[in-house]
Symmetry: C2
Subunit: 137 residues, 2 copies
Amino acid sequence: MISKTNQYALRAVLCLAQETGGRPVRAGQIAAGLDLPANYLSKILHALARAGVLESERGPNGGFRLARSPEELSLAEVMAPFEAIVEQRSCLLGRDQCSDEAPCRLHEHWKLASDPMIEFFKNTKIADLIGQTDLCT
Amino acid sequence: MISKTNQYALRAVLCLAQETGGRPVRAGQIAAGLDLPANYLSKILHALARAGVLESERGPNGGFRLARSPEELSLAEVMAPFEAIVEQRSCLLGRDQCSDEAPCRLHEHWKLASDPMIEFFKNTKIADLIGQTDLCT
DNA sequence: ACATATTATCATATTAATATGATAAACACT
DNA sequence: AGTGTTTATCATATTAATATGATAATATGT
């Protein structure tokens, strides 16, 4: 339902959000902590940095940190660089003919069913999810 | 959000549900009408037949028809042969540690967000969606 | 300056989803 | 029986997601 890329991104961001210290966290450290493929996670972290979700620093003592406060950062913003699911709901049947403007009957049903999930991604902030000890594993 | 395989399956079943005549519809006919890859759709139709959603007949005058009435057939049943999304909700973060039995805080949020969609698939019947002229295209 | 540690980037491998092509099996009609 | 039409099945191709490996660029500390 959620791609692995998005899962990795969310877990990494949650991990960084729980990091209280001011110094950035190394990619390898996150990958080891979460048991994720290191190089693949690197690419994800880089994409998040380009999207303005994270800040990165190179060299010794380098790493990643949140660019914005967990209270302002939504799950949708973390997922946005990887998939456009949140922004534009597609027709359940994959037909580009029907949209919110020219909806079919099915479309209306589908909108009602999928809206709660979309709103969840938009409204839930990273801050709402931290505080659990094991979210970083 | 929904795989193409599931989209094709739903469209094909909706198409068959609108077919009032008693004689089965050929796979090629459905593929042409919906403009879908013929061989790929064949495999999908075959899978639906094995799952008991459709009935198939070979030879001349052969084809596919619904095995059950559109009023009894849910979207979830049509999608079930291809993905297990509907039955078991996985953790948003892809961790197998947390389940409905041993939920994390996130899990509870996620359940609330994803339940409406799952219920939609389970409760919506094929009959609820027919009646639109263009659903077969 | 130099060595080291880290992110940034490029190249490639693996796997799963999607799609195509070809052949076998079943049925209907003559 | 034989011919043609259809589904059933197998084999392979293409594409996208996921993962790995190697190198370049940048910053730090000596």
